[in-house]
Symmetry: C2
DNA sequence: CAGAATCCCAGACGATACTG
DNA sequence: CAGTATCGTCTGGGATTCTG
C-alpha cells in the first residue's frame, strides 16, 4: 500500500546512512584492491583518525561488509578484507562515481550561476550605498 | 600514480555528501515521477518538516539537480522539476537500491550474528554472578 | 501557499590518553 | 600494533514563529 516511491527511496536511504558517513567509502574503496592491516588503512586513508578508523571498521564488520581476521602473534596483526557483499556494494557505488565525474562541471556551473543570481537579488533588497569592497 | 583509491572514493564522497543527507533522496525520488508543488512534496514525503523541505530544495536547485518555477499568482504557486542531470542521478542511485534489496537479509543476519557474538564475549569478561534477566 | 529567521539539541567526529 | 575510553566541539536538522 502507500506510495510507490517510498519503497525505493527508503531502501536507498538505509544504505546511504550506512555508507554515507565520512569514512565508510574510503575504507571500502581501499579494501576493494586487497586485504589490508589496520595501520596500512590508517596510512592509506588521508586524514582519518585512529578512533574513526576503528569505529568505521566495527560498523562495516557488523554489517557483514568486511571481515576481520586476528592473527595471534606479537605484535598483534589484524587484517581486514572486503566480503563478496562488500565488493558488490563497491560496484554499486561505482555508478554514483560515474555520474559524479560526468556532471562535475555542470554542477560547478550551476552553483556559480545560482550564487551569482542570489548575490544580485540580495543587492536589490540591500539599502543602496557604497559597496563594501 | 599514487593511490588509485582516492580518485574514485573522493568523487563518490562528494556525491554522498550531496545526496546522502536525510531528505535529498526522497525529494529526488518523488520528483522522478513528475513535477510537484511545495505542499505536494511536503505531503508525499513522510516526516519531512516544512523547514527541511525548503532547505533541501534550495541545495538541490543550487546544484542544478532540480528546477524551481514560480508562477506569479495569488496564492503563490511554485513547481519543482527534476533536471536531466537529476534524472541521471536517480538512475545512478538505482544500483544502490538494487544492492540494498539484494542484501537486506544478509545484512540483518550479519548484524544479529555480530551482536550475539559481542554479547557472549562481554559475558566472559563480565564478573560471574547472577544474570540480570 | 511558500519561505525566511531563530532557537535548540542529539549525535557525529576529532584529540588525547591509556591498555594488552 | 591494534583497540578502548573520555571529553570537547561543531553541525544537521527539528520546532516554532514571522512575512509577502
Amino acid at each position: 500500500m502507500g506510495s510507490a516511491h517510498s519503497e525505493a527511496a527508503c531502501r536507498a536511504r538505509e544504505m546511504l546512512d550506512r555508507v554515507g558517513d565520512k569514512w565508510s567509502l574510503p575504507v571500502i574503496s581501499e579494501l576493494g584492491t586487497e586485504t589490508r592491516r589496520f595501520t596500512e588503512l590508517r596510512r592509506a586513508i588521508d586524514g582519518i583518525s585512529h578512533r574513526m578508523l576503528t569505529v568505521t571498521l566495527r560498523e562495516l564488520e557488523r554489517d557483514g561488509i568486511i571481515t576481520r581476521t586476528v592473527h595471534a602473534v606479537m605484535p598483534p596483526r589484524v587484517e581486514y578484507t572486503l566480503t563478496p557483499m562488500g565488493h558488490a556494494l563497491l560496484d554499486a557505488v561505482g555508478s554514483l562515481v560515474t555520474w559524479a565525474e560526468a556532471h562535475l562541471d555542470e554542477i560547478d556551473a550551476a552553483r556559480t550561476g545560482y550564487d551569482a543570481r542570489a548575490e544580485q537579488a540580495s543587492a536589490l533588497t540591500r539599502p543602496p550605498g557604497r559597496e563594501n569592497r
